[in-house]
Protein backbone atom coordinates (compact mmCIF):
# COMPACT_ATOMS: atom_id res chain seq x y z
CA UNK A 1 0.00 0.00 0.00
CA UNK A 2 2.76 2.41 0.97
CA UNK A 3 4.57 1.59 -2.23
CA UNK A 4 1.47 2.36 -4.30
CA UNK A 5 1.08 5.73 -2.60
CA UNK A 6 4.76 6.58 -2.94
CA UNK A 7 4.68 5.95 -6.67
CA UNK A 8 1.20 7.37 -7.24
CA UNK A 9 2.10 10.76 -5.70
CA UNK A 10 4.73 11.76 -8.27
CA UNK A 11 2.85 10.11 -11.13
CA UNK A 12 -0.41 11.91 -10.43
CA UNK A 13 1.46 15.18 -10.05
CA UNK A 14 3.12 14.70 -13.45
CA UNK A 15 -0.18 13.74 -15.10
CA UNK A 16 -1.82 16.79 -13.54
CA UNK A 17 0.90 19.05 -14.91
CA UNK A 18 0.45 17.54 -18.38
CA UNK A 19 -3.34 17.90 -18.17
CA UNK A 20 -2.99 21.51 -17.07
CA UNK A 21 -0.63 22.06 -19.99
CA UNK A 22 -3.33 21.16 -22.51
CA UNK A 23 -5.69 23.82 -21.18
CA UNK A 24 -3.40 26.80 -21.79
CA UNK A 25 -2.28 28.67 -24.91
CA UNK A 26 0.25 27.07 -27.27
CA UNK A 27 3.07 29.32 -26.06
CA UNK A 28 2.47 28.35 -22.44
CA UNK A 29 2.09 24.71 -23.37
CA UNK A 30 5.77 24.75 -24.40
CA UNK A 31 6.68 25.64 -20.83
CA UNK A 32 4.70 22.69 -19.47
CA UNK A 33 6.36 20.38 -21.99
CA UNK A 34 9.75 21.66 -20.98
CA UNK A 35 8.90 21.03 -17.31
CA UNK A 36 8.00 17.41 -18.10
CA UNK A 37 11.25 16.83 -19.96
CA UNK A 38 13.27 18.44 -17.16
CA UNK A 39 11.55 16.10 -14.73
CA UNK A 40 12.55 13.07 -16.79
CA UNK A 41 16.18 14.25 -16.82
CA UNK A 42 16.25 15.12 -13.11
CA UNK A 43 14.79 11.69 -12.27
CA UNK A 44 17.64 10.10 -14.24
CA UNK A 45 20.16 12.08 -12.17
CA UNK A 46 18.37 11.00 -9.02
CA UNK A 47 18.72 7.30 -9.87
CA UNK A 48 22.48 7.56 -9.49
CA UNK A 49 23.16 10.61 -7.31
CA UNK A 50 20.21 10.17 -4.97
CA UNK A 51 20.59 6.46 -4.37
CA UNK A 52 24.39 6.35 -4.20
CA UNK A 53 25.14 9.67 -2.51
CA UNK A 54 27.98 10.13 -5.00
CA UNK A 55 27.84 13.34 -6.98
CA UNK A 56 28.10 13.15 -10.75
CA UNK A 57 28.44 16.10 -13.09
CA UNK A 58 28.61 13.76 -16.06
CA UNK A 59 25.05 12.57 -16.63
CA UNK A 60 24.54 15.27 -19.25
CA UNK A 61 26.97 13.25 -21.43
CA UNK A 62 24.28 10.60 -21.73
CA UNK A 63 21.60 13.21 -22.31
CA UNK A 64 23.76 14.52 -25.17
CA UNK A 65 24.18 11.06 -26.68
CA UNK A 66 20.45 10.33 -26.37
CA UNK A 67 19.41 13.70 -27.79
CA UNK A 68 21.62 13.54 -30.85
CA UNK A 69 21.07 9.85 -31.52
CA UNK A 70 17.30 10.02 -31.20
CA UNK A 71 17.17 13.25 -33.18
CA UNK A 72 19.36 12.04 -36.03
CA UNK A 73 17.60 8.69 -36.34
CA UNK A 74 14.18 10.30 -36.75
CA UNK A 75 15.23 12.66 -39.56
CA UNK A 76 14.59 11.30 -43.08
CA UNK A 77 17.54 9.65 -44.86
CA UNK A 78 17.52 11.91 -47.94
CA UNK A 79 17.42 15.02 -45.79
CA UNK A 80 20.37 13.76 -43.74
CA UNK A 81 22.50 13.07 -46.84
CA UNK A 82 21.86 16.68 -47.72
CA UNK A 83 22.36 18.52 -44.40
CA UNK A 84 24.63 16.10 -42.55
CA UNK A 85 26.75 14.46 -45.26
CA UNK A 86 29.61 13.73 -42.87
CA UNK A 87 27.69 11.28 -40.66
CA UNK A 88 28.71 7.64 -40.31
CA UNK A 89 26.80 5.72 -43.02
CA UNK A 90 24.81 3.74 -40.46
CA UNK A 91 23.52 6.95 -38.87
CA UNK A 92 22.92 8.56 -42.25
CA UNK A 93 20.90 5.72 -43.75
CA UNK A 94 18.89 4.62 -40.71
CA UNK A 95 15.49 6.17 -40.24
CA UNK A 96 13.17 5.00 -37.47
CA UNK A 97 10.05 6.25 -35.70
CA UNK A 98 10.25 8.32 -32.54
CA UNK A 99 9.45 5.53 -30.00
CA UNK A 100 12.06 3.20 -31.51
CA UNK A 101 14.62 6.02 -31.54
CA UNK A 102 13.97 6.61 -27.83
CA UNK A 103 14.53 2.95 -27.01
CA UNK A 104 17.74 2.95 -29.05
CA UNK A 105 18.85 6.16 -27.31
CA UNK A 106 18.30 4.51 -23.91
CA UNK A 107 20.23 1.40 -24.96
CA UNK A 108 23.21 3.31 -26.39
CA UNK A 109 23.21 5.76 -23.49
CA UNK A 110 23.15 2.86 -21.03
CA UNK A 111 26.00 1.14 -22.86
CA UNK A 112 28.06 4.34 -22.80
CA UNK A 113 27.34 4.79 -19.09
CA UNK A 114 28.34 1.18 -18.43
CA UNK A 115 31.64 1.75 -20.22
CA UNK A 116 32.32 4.96 -18.29
CA UNK A 117 31.17 3.41 -15.04
CA UNK A 118 33.47 0.40 -15.38
CA UNK A 119 36.40 2.82 -15.13
CA UNK A 120 35.04 5.51 -12.81
CA UNK A 121 32.85 3.75 -10.25
CA UNK A 122 35.88 2.95 -8.11
CA UNK A 123 35.98 6.63 -7.20
CA UNK A 124 33.83 8.45 -4.70
CA UNK A 125 33.47 11.96 -3.30
CA UNK A 126 34.91 14.88 -5.21
CA UNK A 127 37.29 12.86 -7.39
CA UNK A 128 34.21 11.04 -8.71
CA UNK A 129 32.50 14.37 -9.37
CA UNK A 130 35.47 15.77 -11.25
CA UNK A 131 36.10 12.56 -13.22
CA UNK A 132 32.48 12.43 -14.36
CA UNK A 133 32.75 16.09 -15.27
CA UNK A 134 35.78 15.22 -17.39
CA UNK A 135 33.62 12.66 -19.22
CA UNK A 136 31.12 15.43 -19.94
CA UNK A 137 33.96 17.64 -21.19
CA UNK A 138 35.09 14.92 -23.58
CA UNK A 139 31.55 14.15 -24.79
CA UNK A 140 30.88 17.84 -25.40
CA UNK A 141 34.19 18.30 -27.18
CA UNK A 142 33.61 15.31 -29.46
CA UNK A 143 30.03 16.20 -30.37
CA UNK A 144 31.07 19.78 -30.90
CA UNK A 145 33.74 18.94 -33.47
CA UNK A 146 33.27 15.48 -34.95
CA UNK A 147 30.97 15.55 -37.98
CA UNK A 148 30.68 11.78 -38.17
CA UNK A 149 28.45 11.60 -35.06
CA UNK A 150 26.40 14.77 -35.33
CA UNK A 151 26.05 18.27 -36.71
CA UNK A 152 29.19 19.45 -34.80
CA UNK A 153 28.97 23.21 -34.22
CA UNK A 154 25.68 23.51 -36.17
CA UNK A 155 22.23 22.96 -34.73
CA UNK A 156 20.41 19.70 -35.39
CA UNK A 157 17.18 20.92 -36.97
CA UNK A 158 13.73 19.71 -38.07
CA UNK A 159 13.49 16.88 -35.55
CA UNK A 160 9.88 15.59 -35.44
CA UNK A 161 7.98 16.74 -32.36
CA UNK A 162 6.07 14.85 -29.65
CA UNK A 163 2.70 15.73 -28.18
CA UNK A 164 2.49 16.76 -24.53
CA UNK A 165 0.75 13.45 -23.73
CA UNK A 166 3.57 11.48 -25.33
CA UNK A 167 6.11 13.49 -23.33
CA UNK A 168 4.09 12.77 -20.20
CA UNK A 169 4.14 9.05 -20.91
CA UNK A 170 7.92 9.24 -21.40
CA UNK A 171 8.29 11.08 -18.10
CA UNK A 172 6.08 8.52 -16.30
CA UNK A 173 8.14 5.65 -17.72
CA UNK A 174 11.29 7.23 -16.23
CA UNK A 175 9.62 7.74 -12.85
CA UNK A 176 8.30 4.16 -12.81
CA UNK A 177 11.71 2.77 -13.75
CA UNK A 178 13.41 4.85 -11.06
CA UNK A 179 10.91 3.69 -8.46
CA UNK A 180 11.13 0.04 -9.48
CA UNK A 181 14.90 0.31 -9.20
CA UNK A 182 14.95 1.87 -5.76
CA UNK A 183 12.58 -0.81 -4.42
CA UNK A 184 14.62 -3.65 -5.94
CA UNK A 185 17.38 -5.40 -4.02
CA UNK A 186 19.93 -3.53 -6.14
CA UNK A 187 18.46 -0.19 -5.15
CA UNK A 188 18.23 -1.13 -1.47
CA UNK A 189 21.82 -2.36 -1.42
CA UNK A 190 23.04 0.87 -3.00
CA UNK A 191 21.07 2.99 -0.54
CA UNK A 192 22.68 1.03 2.26
CA UNK A 193 26.12 1.96 0.91
CA UNK A 194 24.99 5.59 0.83
CA UNK A 195 24.08 5.54 4.51
CA UNK A 196 27.20 3.74 5.70
CA UNK A 197 29.73 2.43 3.18
CA UNK A 198 31.74 0.50 5.74
CA UNK A 199 28.75 -1.26 7.31
CA UNK A 200 27.31 -2.03 3.87
CA UNK A 201 30.57 -3.60 2.75
CA UNK A 202 30.76 -5.57 5.96
CA UNK A 203 27.30 -6.98 5.20
CA UNK A 204 28.60 -8.29 1.91
CA UNK A 205 27.49 -5.55 -0.48
CA UNK A 206 29.74 -4.96 -3.46
CA UNK A 207 29.80 -1.15 -3.55
CA UNK A 208 31.49 -0.95 -6.95
CA UNK A 209 28.98 -3.29 -8.56
CA UNK A 210 25.91 -1.58 -7.10
CA UNK A 211 27.13 1.84 -8.15
CA UNK A 212 27.80 0.51 -11.62
CA UNK A 213 24.24 -0.82 -11.92
CA UNK A 214 22.78 2.53 -10.86
CA UNK A 215 25.13 4.50 -13.09
CA UNK A 216 24.16 2.40 -16.10
CA UNK A 217 20.43 2.70 -15.43
CA UNK A 218 20.85 6.41 -14.79
CA UNK A 219 22.74 6.76 -18.09
CA UNK A 220 20.01 4.92 -19.97
CA UNK A 221 17.29 7.10 -18.44
CA UNK A 222 19.34 10.24 -19.06
CA UNK A 223 19.72 9.32 -22.74
CA UNK A 224 16.00 8.59 -22.87
CA UNK A 225 15.37 12.03 -21.34
CA UNK A 226 17.74 13.52 -23.91
CA UNK A 227 15.61 11.92 -26.61
CA UNK A 228 12.50 13.50 -25.12
CA UNK A 229 14.34 16.82 -24.97
CA UNK A 230 15.27 16.85 -28.66
CA UNK A 231 11.72 15.94 -29.72
CA UNK A 232 10.29 18.57 -27.43
CA UNK A 233 12.58 21.32 -28.74
CA UNK A 234 12.62 20.27 -32.41
CA UNK A 235 16.25 21.33 -32.68
CA UNK A 236 19.31 21.16 -30.47
CA UNK A 237 22.91 22.32 -30.20
CA UNK A 238 25.73 20.88 -28.10
CA UNK A 239 25.71 23.97 -25.88
CA UNK A 240 22.13 23.30 -24.82
CA UNK A 241 23.18 20.05 -23.16
CA UNK A 242 26.35 21.22 -21.45
CA UNK A 243 27.21 23.27 -18.38
CA UNK A 244 24.06 25.25 -17.80
CA UNK A 245 21.72 22.27 -18.10
CA UNK A 246 24.08 20.22 -15.91
CA UNK A 247 23.91 22.69 -13.07
CA UNK A 248 20.28 23.68 -13.48
CA UNK A 249 19.09 20.06 -13.34
CA UNK A 250 21.40 19.36 -10.41
CA UNK A 251 19.99 22.42 -8.65
CA UNK A 252 16.43 21.15 -9.30
CA UNK A 253 17.35 17.84 -7.71
CA UNK A 254 18.95 19.39 -4.63
CA UNK A 255 16.24 22.02 -4.19
CA UNK A 256 13.59 19.29 -4.24
CA UNK A 257 15.55 16.93 -2.01
CA UNK A 258 18.30 14.74 -3.38
CA UNK A 259 17.42 11.61 -1.41
CA UNK A 260 13.91 10.86 -2.71
CA UNK A 261 12.15 10.34 -6.02
CA UNK A 262 9.40 12.65 -4.80
CA UNK A 263 12.05 15.30 -4.16
CA UNK A 264 13.42 14.94 -7.70
CA UNK A 265 9.97 15.31 -9.26
CA UNK A 266 8.87 18.18 -7.02
CA UNK A 267 12.17 20.02 -7.47
CA UNK A 268 12.09 19.74 -11.26
CA UNK A 269 8.45 20.79 -11.61
CA UNK A 270 8.64 23.58 -9.05
CA UNK A 271 11.84 25.17 -10.36
CA UNK A 272 10.51 24.92 -13.94
CA UNK A 273 7.24 26.47 -12.80
CA UNK A 274 8.91 29.34 -10.95
CA UNK A 275 11.20 29.92 -13.92
CA UNK A 276 8.23 30.13 -16.31
CA UNK A 277 6.29 32.35 -13.93
CA UNK A 278 9.21 34.79 -13.61
CA UNK A 279 9.60 34.78 -17.39
CA UNK A 280 5.93 35.71 -17.78
CA UNK A 281 6.25 38.32 -15.06
CA UNK A 282 8.81 40.13 -17.21
CA UNK A 283 5.85 40.84 -19.53
CA UNK A 284 3.41 41.58 -16.67
CA UNK A 285 1.25 38.99 -14.93
CA UNK A 286 -1.92 39.48 -12.92
CA UNK A 287 -1.91 37.80 -9.51
CA UNK A 288 -4.50 39.92 -7.76
CA UNK A 289 -2.34 42.90 -8.74
CA UNK A 290 -0.22 43.72 -11.77
CA UNK A 291 3.32 42.42 -11.45
CA UNK A 292 5.99 43.49 -13.92
CA UNK A 293 9.59 42.48 -13.43
CA UNK A 294 12.45 44.28 -15.14
CA UNK A 295 13.62 42.69 -18.38
CA UNK A 296 16.27 40.03 -17.76
CA UNK A 297 15.69 39.73 -14.01
CA UNK A 298 14.22 36.21 -14.32
CA UNK A 299 17.47 34.29 -13.97
CA UNK A 300 18.78 36.58 -11.22
CA UNK A 301 15.69 35.89 -9.16
CA UNK A 302 15.75 32.18 -9.96
CA UNK A 303 19.34 31.94 -8.71
CA UNK A 304 18.51 33.92 -5.58
CA UNK A 305 15.43 31.79 -4.84
CA UNK A 306 17.36 28.55 -5.24
CA UNK A 307 20.07 29.81 -2.89
CA UNK A 308 17.40 30.91 -0.42
CA UNK A 309 15.66 27.52 -0.42
CA UNK A 310 18.97 25.78 0.26
CA UNK A 311 19.84 28.17 3.07
CA UNK A 312 16.44 27.72 4.72
CA UNK A 313 15.99 24.01 3.94
CA UNK A 314 19.39 22.41 3.34
CA UNK A 315 17.89 18.96 2.80
CA UNK A 316 15.54 20.22 0.10
CA UNK A 317 11.89 21.14 0.00
CA UNK A 318 10.68 17.59 0.59
CA UNK A 319 13.37 16.91 3.19
CA UNK A 320 14.35 13.97 0.97
CA UNK A 321 11.26 12.04 2.06
CA UNK A 322 9.05 10.07 -0.30
CA UNK A 323 5.49 11.12 -0.93
CA UNK A 324 3.02 9.88 1.67
CA UNK A 325 -0.53 10.69 2.66
CA UNK A 326 0.47 11.74 6.15
CA UNK A 327 2.69 14.31 4.46
CA UNK A 328 -0.38 15.80 2.82
CA UNK A 329 -2.37 15.68 6.04
CA UNK A 330 0.36 17.33 8.07
CA UNK A 331 0.62 20.11 5.54
CA UNK A 332 -3.02 21.01 5.85
Amino acid sequence: MKAVVQLAGPMILIAAVAALGTTVSAAHQLEFESALVSTAIVVSLYVFIGNSGVISFGQMSFVTVGAFLSGILTIGAEQKSFVLPGLFPILRHTHVGTPVSLVLAALVGGAYALLVGLVLMRLSGLPAGIATFAVLGITYNLFRNWEKIGPAAQALNSVPGMSIWALMVGCLISVAAAYAYQRSRFGRQLRATREDPAAAQASGIDVYRQRLVAFTLSGALAAFGGGLLVHELGSITTDQVYLELTFVTLAMLVVGGVGSLWGAVVGALLVSGVDSFLGDAENTVHIGFRLTLPEGSRLVLLGALMALVLILRPSGLTGSREFSLSWVRRRR
Binding site: A131, L142, P294, L302, A307
Partner: protein
Protein backbone atom coordinates in the same frame (compact mmCIF):
# COMPACT_ATOMS: atom_id res chain seq x y z
CA UNK B 1 63.94 27.09 -29.34
CA UNK B 2 60.18 27.01 -29.90
CA UNK B 3 60.04 24.30 -27.25
CA UNK B 4 61.58 26.66 -24.70
CA UNK B 5 59.18 29.40 -25.80
CA UNK B 6 56.22 27.07 -25.32
CA UNK B 7 57.56 26.07 -21.90
CA UNK B 8 57.77 29.69 -20.79
CA UNK B 9 54.21 30.43 -21.93
CA UNK B 10 52.99 27.27 -20.25
CA UNK B 11 54.67 28.14 -16.94
CA UNK B 12 53.11 31.62 -17.02
CA UNK B 13 49.62 30.25 -17.60
CA UNK B 14 50.25 27.61 -14.96
CA UNK B 15 51.08 30.31 -12.42
CA UNK B 16 47.73 31.98 -13.08
CA UNK B 17 45.77 28.74 -12.69
CA UNK B 18 47.84 27.97 -9.59
CA UNK B 19 46.65 31.22 -8.00
CA UNK B 20 43.01 30.37 -8.69
CA UNK B 21 43.57 26.88 -7.28
CA UNK B 22 45.15 28.42 -4.17
CA UNK B 23 42.11 30.65 -3.63
CA UNK B 24 39.70 27.73 -4.02
CA UNK B 25 41.83 25.35 -1.96
CA UNK B 26 42.17 27.76 0.94
CA UNK B 27 38.41 28.03 1.48
CA UNK B 28 37.89 24.34 0.82
CA UNK B 29 40.47 23.37 3.41
CA UNK B 30 38.63 25.16 6.19
CA UNK B 31 34.98 25.02 5.18
CA UNK B 32 34.95 21.90 2.98
CA UNK B 33 33.18 24.14 0.50
CA UNK B 34 33.88 24.12 -3.23
CA UNK B 35 33.08 27.66 -4.22
CA UNK B 36 31.78 27.59 -7.79
CA UNK B 37 31.09 31.31 -7.49
CA UNK B 38 34.83 31.99 -7.26
CA UNK B 39 34.88 32.77 -10.98
CA UNK B 40 32.33 35.52 -10.43
CA UNK B 41 34.77 37.19 -8.01
CA UNK B 42 37.31 37.27 -10.82
CA UNK B 43 34.67 38.63 -13.19
CA UNK B 44 33.75 41.34 -10.66
CA UNK B 45 37.41 42.35 -10.55
CA UNK B 46 37.48 42.41 -14.34
CA UNK B 47 34.49 44.71 -14.56
CA UNK B 48 35.95 47.03 -11.91
CA UNK B 49 39.13 47.31 -13.95
CA UNK B 50 37.09 47.88 -17.13
CA UNK B 51 35.06 50.68 -15.54
CA UNK B 52 38.22 52.35 -14.22
CA UNK B 53 40.15 51.90 -17.46
CA UNK B 54 40.77 55.63 -17.76
CA UNK B 55 42.20 55.94 -14.24
CA UNK B 56 45.76 55.30 -13.18
CA UNK B 57 46.71 51.64 -12.83
CA UNK B 58 47.26 51.93 -9.06
CA UNK B 59 43.78 53.31 -8.42
CA UNK B 60 42.21 50.68 -10.68
CA UNK B 61 44.05 47.80 -9.02
CA UNK B 62 43.27 49.03 -5.49
CA UNK B 63 39.60 49.41 -6.38
CA UNK B 64 39.63 45.95 -7.93
CA UNK B 65 41.03 44.41 -4.73
CA UNK B 66 38.52 46.34 -2.60
CA UNK B 67 35.50 45.29 -4.69
CA UNK B 68 36.49 41.65 -4.94
CA UNK B 69 37.33 41.29 -1.25
CA UNK B 70 34.08 43.00 -0.29
CA UNK B 71 32.07 40.70 -2.55
CA UNK B 72 33.90 37.67 -1.20
CA UNK B 73 33.11 38.65 2.40
CA UNK B 74 29.47 39.42 1.60
CA UNK B 75 29.10 36.06 -0.13
CA UNK B 76 30.43 34.28 2.95
CA UNK B 77 28.26 36.23 5.37
CA UNK B 78 24.99 36.06 3.44
CA UNK B 79 25.09 32.68 1.75
CA UNK B 80 27.76 30.35 3.08
CA UNK B 81 27.61 31.06 6.79
CA UNK B 82 24.02 29.82 7.16
CA UNK B 83 24.97 26.72 5.18
CA UNK B 84 27.85 25.68 7.39
CA UNK B 85 27.53 22.00 8.17
CA UNK B 86 25.06 21.29 5.34
CA UNK B 87 25.79 18.34 3.06
CA UNK B 88 28.49 18.85 0.40
CA UNK B 89 25.93 18.57 -2.43
CA UNK B 90 23.76 21.28 -0.88
CA UNK B 91 26.69 23.64 -0.40
CA UNK B 92 27.94 22.99 -3.92
CA UNK B 93 24.57 23.68 -5.50
CA UNK B 94 24.16 26.78 -3.33
CA UNK B 95 27.46 28.15 -4.63
CA UNK B 96 26.26 27.35 -8.13
CA UNK B 97 23.04 29.25 -7.49
CA UNK B 98 25.08 32.28 -6.34
CA UNK B 99 27.32 31.98 -9.38
CA UNK B 100 24.31 31.72 -11.69
CA UNK B 101 22.70 34.71 -10.04
CA UNK B 102 25.81 36.89 -10.22
CA UNK B 103 26.41 36.03 -13.88
CA UNK B 104 22.90 37.18 -14.65
CA UNK B 105 23.38 40.33 -12.59
CA UNK B 106 26.44 41.10 -14.71
CA UNK B 107 24.46 40.33 -17.85
CA UNK B 108 21.72 42.69 -16.74
CA UNK B 109 24.07 45.44 -15.72
CA UNK B 110 26.81 45.29 -18.35
CA UNK B 111 25.20 43.46 -21.31
CA UNK B 112 26.47 40.38 -23.08
CA UNK B 113 28.93 42.05 -25.42
CA UNK B 114 31.56 42.65 -22.79
CA UNK B 115 33.66 45.56 -21.56
CA UNK B 116 37.28 46.07 -22.48
CA UNK B 117 40.02 46.59 -19.90
CA UNK B 118 42.76 49.01 -20.89
CA UNK B 119 44.74 48.99 -17.65
CA UNK B 120 48.27 47.54 -17.89
CA UNK B 121 47.83 46.74 -21.60
CA UNK B 122 51.48 47.68 -22.05
CA UNK B 123 52.50 44.45 -20.34
CA UNK B 124 51.62 42.56 -23.52
CA UNK B 125 54.82 43.88 -25.06
CA UNK B 126 57.69 41.40 -25.29
CA UNK B 127 61.39 41.47 -24.63
CA UNK B 128 63.67 39.57 -26.95
CA UNK B 129 66.20 37.21 -25.40
CA UNK B 130 68.07 35.51 -28.21
CA UNK B 131 65.34 34.07 -30.40
CA UNK B 132 62.86 34.00 -27.52
CA UNK B 133 59.98 36.42 -27.17
CA UNK B 134 59.13 36.76 -23.52
CA UNK B 135 56.05 38.84 -22.85
CA UNK B 136 56.23 41.07 -19.81
CA UNK B 137 52.98 39.65 -18.53
CA UNK B 138 54.52 36.17 -18.39
CA UNK B 139 57.24 37.49 -16.12
CA UNK B 140 54.79 39.51 -14.03
CA UNK B 141 52.42 36.53 -13.71
CA UNK B 142 55.27 34.34 -12.52
CA UNK B 143 56.60 36.87 -10.04
CA UNK B 144 53.17 37.74 -8.66
CA UNK B 145 52.18 34.08 -8.53
CA UNK B 146 55.33 33.07 -6.68
CA UNK B 147 55.08 36.13 -4.42
CA UNK B 148 51.48 35.47 -3.41
CA UNK B 149 52.15 31.79 -2.87
CA UNK B 150 55.07 32.68 -0.61
CA UNK B 151 53.00 35.29 1.21
CA UNK B 152 50.16 32.84 1.78
CA UNK B 153 52.58 30.23 3.06
CA UNK B 154 54.14 32.73 5.45
CA UNK B 155 50.71 33.84 6.59
CA UNK B 156 49.69 30.28 7.36
CA UNK B 157 52.92 29.28 9.06
CA UNK B 158 54.11 32.40 10.85
CA UNK B 159 51.04 34.23 12.14
CA UNK B 160 48.48 33.48 14.83
CA UNK B 161 45.55 33.69 12.45
CA UNK B 162 47.41 31.38 10.08
CA UNK B 163 47.91 28.86 12.86
CA UNK B 164 44.23 29.10 13.71
CA UNK B 165 43.33 28.54 10.06
CA UNK B 166 45.45 25.42 9.92
CA UNK B 167 43.94 24.20 13.16
CA UNK B 168 40.43 24.82 11.81
CA UNK B 169 41.29 22.96 8.63
CA UNK B 170 42.61 19.96 10.53
CA UNK B 171 39.63 19.64 12.85
CA UNK B 172 37.10 22.40 12.93
CA UNK B 173 35.25 21.31 16.07
CA UNK B 174 38.33 20.74 18.18
CA UNK B 175 39.75 24.05 17.04
CA UNK B 176 36.58 25.81 18.18
CA UNK B 177 36.68 24.06 21.54
CA UNK B 178 40.23 25.31 21.96
CA UNK B 179 39.11 28.89 21.44
CA UNK B 180 39.52 29.46 17.72
CA UNK B 181 36.77 31.82 16.64
CA UNK B 182 35.07 30.18 13.70
CA UNK B 183 33.57 33.26 12.10
CA UNK B 184 36.81 35.16 12.26
CA UNK B 185 38.89 32.37 10.75
CA UNK B 186 36.42 31.69 7.96
CA UNK B 187 35.94 35.36 7.14
CA UNK B 188 39.68 35.74 7.02
CA UNK B 189 40.06 32.83 4.61
CA UNK B 190 37.45 34.42 2.35
CA UNK B 191 39.36 37.69 2.59
CA UNK B 192 42.61 36.05 1.48
CA UNK B 193 40.91 34.14 -1.29
CA UNK B 194 39.32 37.42 -2.39
CA UNK B 195 42.74 39.07 -2.62
CA UNK B 196 43.93 36.14 -4.73
CA UNK B 197 40.90 36.46 -7.02
CA UNK B 198 41.62 40.16 -7.46
CA UNK B 199 45.23 39.39 -8.39
CA UNK B 200 44.01 36.85 -10.94
CA UNK B 201 41.59 39.43 -12.37
CA UNK B 202 44.41 41.94 -12.84
CA UNK B 203 46.71 39.41 -14.52
CA UNK B 204 44.03 37.75 -16.62
CA UNK B 205 42.62 41.00 -18.02
CA UNK B 206 46.04 41.86 -19.43
CA UNK B 207 46.03 38.73 -21.60
CA UNK B 208 42.33 38.63 -22.27
CA UNK B 209 40.95 42.17 -21.96
CA UNK B 210 37.33 41.53 -22.98
CA UNK B 211 35.30 40.95 -19.79
CA UNK B 212 31.98 39.16 -20.37
CA UNK B 213 29.46 37.87 -17.77
CA UNK B 214 31.00 34.38 -17.85
CA UNK B 215 34.58 35.68 -17.84
CA UNK B 216 35.76 33.76 -14.76
CA UNK B 217 33.90 30.51 -15.40
CA UNK B 218 36.35 28.60 -17.53
CA UNK B 219 39.50 29.39 -15.51
CA UNK B 220 37.64 28.49 -12.30
CA UNK B 221 36.42 25.18 -13.69
CA UNK B 222 39.87 24.25 -14.89
CA UNK B 223 41.51 25.34 -11.65
CA UNK B 224 38.91 23.37 -9.71
CA UNK B 225 39.74 20.30 -11.75
CA UNK B 226 43.38 21.06 -11.03
CA UNK B 227 42.71 21.27 -7.30
CA UNK B 228 41.14 17.82 -7.24
CA UNK B 229 43.73 16.31 -9.56
CA UNK B 230 46.55 17.77 -7.47
CA UNK B 231 45.09 16.68 -4.17
CA UNK B 232 42.47 18.46 -2.09
CA UNK B 233 43.91 17.65 1.26
CA UNK B 234 46.93 19.92 1.12
CA UNK B 235 47.09 23.49 -0.05
CA UNK B 236 50.43 23.03 -1.79
CA UNK B 237 49.13 19.97 -3.70
CA UNK B 238 46.04 21.91 -4.71
CA UNK B 239 48.07 24.87 -5.98
CA UNK B 240 50.45 22.53 -7.80
CA UNK B 241 47.47 20.78 -9.37
CA UNK B 242 46.16 24.13 -10.60
CA UNK B 243 49.58 24.91 -11.98
CA UNK B 244 49.79 21.51 -13.68
CA UNK B 245 46.45 21.88 -15.46
CA UNK B 246 47.29 25.38 -16.70
CA UNK B 247 50.69 24.18 -17.81
CA UNK B 248 49.28 21.11 -19.57
CA UNK B 249 46.60 23.17 -21.28
CA UNK B 250 49.09 25.60 -22.74
CA UNK B 251 51.86 23.10 -23.48
CA UNK B 252 49.78 20.27 -24.98
CA UNK B 253 47.85 22.89 -26.95
CA UNK B 254 51.07 24.21 -28.44
CA UNK B 255 52.44 20.73 -29.21
CA UNK B 256 49.26 19.30 -30.74
CA UNK B 257 49.11 19.44 -34.57
CA UNK B 258 46.73 22.16 -35.79
CA UNK B 259 44.32 19.67 -37.38
CA UNK B 260 43.58 18.04 -34.02
CA UNK B 261 43.90 21.08 -31.76
CA UNK B 262 40.09 21.30 -31.44
CA UNK B 263 40.31 18.05 -29.50
CA UNK B 264 42.67 19.57 -26.91
CA UNK B 265 39.98 19.58 -24.17
CA UNK B 266 39.40 15.86 -24.75
CA UNK B 267 43.11 15.17 -24.32
CA UNK B 268 43.25 17.19 -21.10
CA UNK B 269 40.07 15.63 -19.69
CA UNK B 270 41.38 12.20 -20.66
CA UNK B 271 44.56 12.88 -18.68
CA UNK B 272 42.44 14.06 -15.74
CA UNK B 273 40.51 10.77 -15.74
CA UNK B 274 43.70 8.70 -15.93
CA UNK B 275 45.23 10.57 -13.00
CA UNK B 276 42.09 10.34 -10.87
CA UNK B 277 41.65 6.63 -11.48
CA UNK B 278 45.29 5.88 -10.70
CA UNK B 279 45.65 8.29 -7.78
CA UNK B 280 42.26 9.34 -6.42
CA UNK B 281 43.85 11.16 -3.48
CA UNK B 282 45.67 13.44 -5.91
CA UNK B 283 48.76 13.53 -8.06
CA UNK B 284 50.82 15.49 -5.56
CA UNK B 285 49.30 14.08 -2.38
CA UNK B 286 51.77 12.35 -0.10
CA UNK B 287 51.68 8.56 -0.08
CA UNK B 288 50.57 8.45 3.52
CA UNK B 289 47.15 9.82 4.29
CA UNK B 290 47.51 13.54 4.82
CA UNK B 291 46.21 15.09 7.98
CA UNK B 292 46.98 18.74 7.40
CA UNK B 293 44.74 20.38 4.86
CA UNK B 294 46.04 23.91 4.65
Amino acid sequence: MTLLQQLIDAVALGALYGLVALGIGLVFGIMRLINLAYGELITAGGYTLAILSGQSAVVAILACVAVVVALSLVMERVAFRPLRGASPATMLVATFAISFMLQNVYLLKFGSRGRTVGTLGGLNGAIKVGSLNIRWISIVALVVGAGLLAATTLLLNRTTIGLQMRAAAADFRTARILGVRANRVISFSFLVSGVLAAAVAVLLTVQDPLVTPDYGVSITLFALIGVVVGGLDRLSSAALGGFAIGFANSFVGARLPTSSSVYLPSVIYGLVIVVLVLRPAGLFAPRRRAVERV
